[in-house]
């Protein structure tokens, strides 16, 4: 047998070691990003979640002005955490559309009364249909949509204080 062949197992082990060591060091986030970023927002039309706000459809999102599309739910704790940041964005003049995920009108109304309502429109997505269309895998998630109705950015998880300037910047670029 060739001498050099005997080193093959060690080399293979070296590759294994490098792969798992890198995997161990890399933070494990388990975040599945949407592949819809960069593509036009898919066709959908959702009924209004509460009486006070109009329904939401694809056509409402391509108005020539960049907007935010925020997926939330009354049963979601991080959604409470991001509520102040959404209000701050609203005060900065950002148009925020909401999609309530797997929720009831009464619970949504309660949630908004308690933690504030930054949304211009809220659609209700009781069967995660639009969420699946958007390639979203949880709540909360926020999409930045440009004036032509193209998704330009996806923010996974709650919006923290430090995320607000970044989102504003992305919105500005999209405009």
């Amino acid at each position: 047998m060739n001498r050099w062949l005997l080193w093959v197992p060690l080399v293979l082990f070296g590759i294994f070691f490098a792969v798992v060591a890198a995997g161990l060091i890399r933070p494990k986030d388990n975040i599945i990003e949407s592949k819809m970023v960069g593509k036009p927002i898919p066709e959908f039309s959702l009924p209004a979640a509460i009486e006070q706000r109009p329904a939401l459809a694809t056509t409402d999102l391509a108005t020539g002005k960049p907007q935010l599309l925020n997926i939330f739910a009354s049963w979601c704790v991080p959604c409470i955490a991001e509520a102040p940041q959404l209000l701050e964005l609203e005060r900065a003049g950002v148009q925020i559309n909401g999609i309530a995920s797997r929720d009831t009108p009464a619970d949504i109304a309660n949630f908004l009364n308690r933690w504030g309502n930054p949304y211009v429109r809220i659609g209700t997505d009781v069967r995660s249909i639009v969420q699946l269309e958007l390639g979203s895998s949880g709540v909360p998630e926020t999409f930045v949509i440009d004036g032509k109705g193209v998704i330009v950015h996806q923010h996974i998880g709650d919006i923290r204080k430090e995320d607000v300037p970044e989102l504003l910047e992305i919105l500005e670029k999209a405009g």
Binding site: M1, L10, F13, F17, A22, G23, R26
Partner: protein, 645 residues
């Protein structure tokens, strides 16, 4: 004071391991034979001390000594005795101590019983064993002392997760660890043999019982784990190709290859380098398996007790032991002759094919399991590799492998002819063809792999008994019976797998009390939902009766359990076993109309999967006992012959 006794015993055991390693190293380097005499007692002392240390830990759990941190974190005073005992290894520190204890005892066993090996190889083996142990001792003593005290002493423990109280889970870790340690011994033998360059039949015969023993426990571990996942998870599946399952399969594949190549080495003095490599790989796979499970580097359904820090420790050990062994292999094996070459059509030819195909399957499972991690590291992409890939890639190879398995034992050593083989195997071949024909004719829903698998199983089942043909049954050695039973077990499991895959009937219904559901020949009636309560849970229990044809009516009660303390919900499947399969009923949620979700499966012959697994393990056990007894007899004969001279 009891905890301190355990800790002192552990320190002493660790120093014995150091001493053992030093004696072996110096002895080998200087060739001082008088040092060798001291090594056996040291190995025995190490085994006794580490066993004491582990028993002390068990005792602390039995006594519920709440001054010990580990007991507080993993036990409560009121708990069934079995779970108090299993609590000792139901955690990271305790399981490490269990591992090292089994390893120490196994080392002591080599010290006491191994008399056939050349002194130098034995010394090198015990040295390698001590070297492995030192790493584990270091970790236990420096980073995760199981005997650490807690102050102030709490009134009671925090308890083991009530869900972890399961007989299967209590016995699963020791079973696997015994298997892993058995492979570590094979690894040490291989390292010892590489150091002394003494690879031959003697070495293979010394290693064989350890490999067989390890293989029996690994087989049992996988079989039990599969059945446990089947009834506990409530999905009716028995193998998911989940990373943690693959982690337990890989050492088994390597051990299966190893135990066959060891036979070639013992009988024909061939496959020397290959056997050494397999011994290194088999233990590597058990370490890698442990690493994958504990580090959380791969996402798994079975992932618990995950801790990246522990992961880096195990990885460091991996690098030292496996990297070291492979470097040694590269440096030393060049001068080990691979041994004689073989005829393709011969017993050893079939065993070589077995080894290469098993290694190919091992390679596929290994690559498939780690590839997603590799992709994540190299790019922004994320991919999943699951059952479709593994079934497609390993299935056909596995079927070729089992076909060779049927023919192999019918071949003569050294040289045989294809014609003679065809003669001997004509009945199984005919049976396979007939089964294939019948299945194609009378079934509609079978896909290719299960179809061929089931047809092959018919032939293999008969072929596995063919080695007994025209033989004196009483004079046939026990290890031959072991092989026959193990090979027959493969056929049995294959039928179960193919049948479950092809003929399972599933029905999802929303049922009101009084509804009747037909699944295959089962008439299932849903009567009512009633609340029931257990020690730490409440449950909704469905009253269901099931009747197969006109047979007696059976009552079954699938549950939806809520654990108050943890706000957890589990579904407890109800199983009804007949000789020809299992009825599997799961209770789901209720809908607005007050109907209840029922998931019902009829799984024909599914139990054969695990009966097959048990038969395989039993075959391994018989082979091991047979080999040990024969070795014992030969030793006596030799002693007698010497005495006569």
């Amino acid at each position: 004071m009891i905890a301190e006794t355990g800790l002192i015993a552990l320190w002493l055991a660790a120093s014995m391991a150091l001493l053992q390693f030093a004696l072996c190293a110096i002895g080998l380097a200087k060739g001082q034979d008088e040092l060798f005499k001291a090594i056996r007692p040291v190995a025995i002392a190490q085994g006794v001390l580490v066993a004491i240390s582990f028993l002390v830990l068990v005792w602390l759990f039995v006594r519920s000594d709440m001054s010990v941190k580990l007991v507080v974190a993993n036990s409560v005073a009121i708990k069934p005795m079995l779970y108090k005992i299993s609590g000792a290894w139901g955690n990271h520190e305790g399981s490490m101590l269990l591992w090292i204890a089994i390893m120490g005892v196994a080392g002591a066993c080599i010290g006491i019983f191994e008399r056939n090996l050349k002194a130098k190889t034995l010394v090198a083996t015990l040295g390698a064993q001590a070297f492995i142990s030192i790493g584990f001792y270091a970790y236990l003593l420096i980073a995760s002392n199981p005997f650490e005290r807690i102050f102030p002493v709490p009134a009671d423990g925090q308890g083991l997760n009530p869900l972890l109280q399961d007989v299967g889970l209590a016995l699963h870790p020791p079973t696997l660890y015994i298997g892993y340690v058995g492979l570590s011994i094979a690894f040490s033998f291989a390292v010892g043999a590489m150091i002394t360059r003494d690879v031959g039949p003697e070495f293979a015969k010394a290693m064989r019982p350890w490999v067989l023993g390890a293989w029996v426990f690994l087989t049992l571990g996988i079989t039990a784990g599969s059945y446990w996942a089947y009834y506990e998870l409530g999905w009716g599946g028995w193998w998911f190709w989940d990373p943690v399952e693959n982690a337990s399969l890989m050492p088994w594949l390597a051990a299966t290859a190893l135990l066959h190549s060891v036979t070639v080495l013992a009988t024909r003095d061939g496959l020397r380098a290959w056997t050494l490599m397999l011994a290194v790989v088999a233990f590597s796979m058990s370490m890698i398996g442990t690493f994958l499970v504990r580090s959380g580097v791969l996402t798994s359904v079975h992932a618990f007790a995950v801790d990246p820090e522990r992961g880096s420790f195990i990885l460091a050990l991996l690098a030292i032991y496996i990297g070291g062994a492979m470097a040694l292999f590269a440096l030393r094996v060049g001068s080990v002759k691979e041994g004689s070459q073989f005829e393709p059509i011969s017993r050893e030819g079939a065993l070589v094919a077995n080894n290469l195909l098993l290694s190919a399957i091992l390679g596929i499972v290994f690559i498939g399991t780690l590839y997603p991690l590799f992709v994540e590291g190299m790019s922004d992409e994320m991919i999943s590799v699951g059952a479709p890939y593994f079934n497609l890639a390993t299935g056909p190879i596995a079927l070729i492998l089992v076909a060779i398995m049927a023919a192999g034992p019918l071949l003569r050593w050294r040289r045989d002819s294809a014609k003679a083989l065809l003669n001997r195997i004509s009945i199984p071949v005919f049976l396979t063809a007939a089964a294939l024909f019948a299945l194609v004719l009378f079934t509609t829903s079978m896909s290719v792999l299960p179809l061929i698998g089931m047809a092959l199983a018919a032939g293999i089942a008969v072929a596995s008994f063919a080695p007994l043909w025209k033989r004196n049954l009483r004079r046939t050695p026990m290890h031959t019976y072991g092989m026959i039973i193990a090979h027959f077990g493969i056929a049995v499991a294959l039928v179960g797998m193919a049948s479950e895959t092809s003929f399972t009937e599933e029905k999802l219904v929303a049922a009101k009390p009084g509804d009747e559901i037909m699944v295959n020949d089962w008439k299932i009636k849903f009567h009512a939902i009633e609340p029931v309560a257990g020690p730490n849970w409440t449950a909704l229990e469905a009253r269901v009766t099931a009747q197969y044809g006109d047979e007696a009516i059976h009552e079954i009660a699938p549950q939806n359990r809520m654990f108050a303390s943890a706000q957890m919900q589990t579904s407890e499947a109800a199983l009804l076993t007949r000789w020809n399969g299992q009825l599997y009923v799961v209770l789901g949620d209720s809908d607005e109309q007050g109907r209840w979700q029922l998931r019902i499966w009829w799984k024909p012959f599914v139990t054969l999967i695990w009966y097959g697994g048990v038969l395989i393990a039993l075959g391994g056990l018989l082979a091991m006992i047979g080999r040990l007894r024969r070795a014992g007899r030969q030793k006596k004969q030799r002693a007698y012959a010497e005495a006569m001279i």
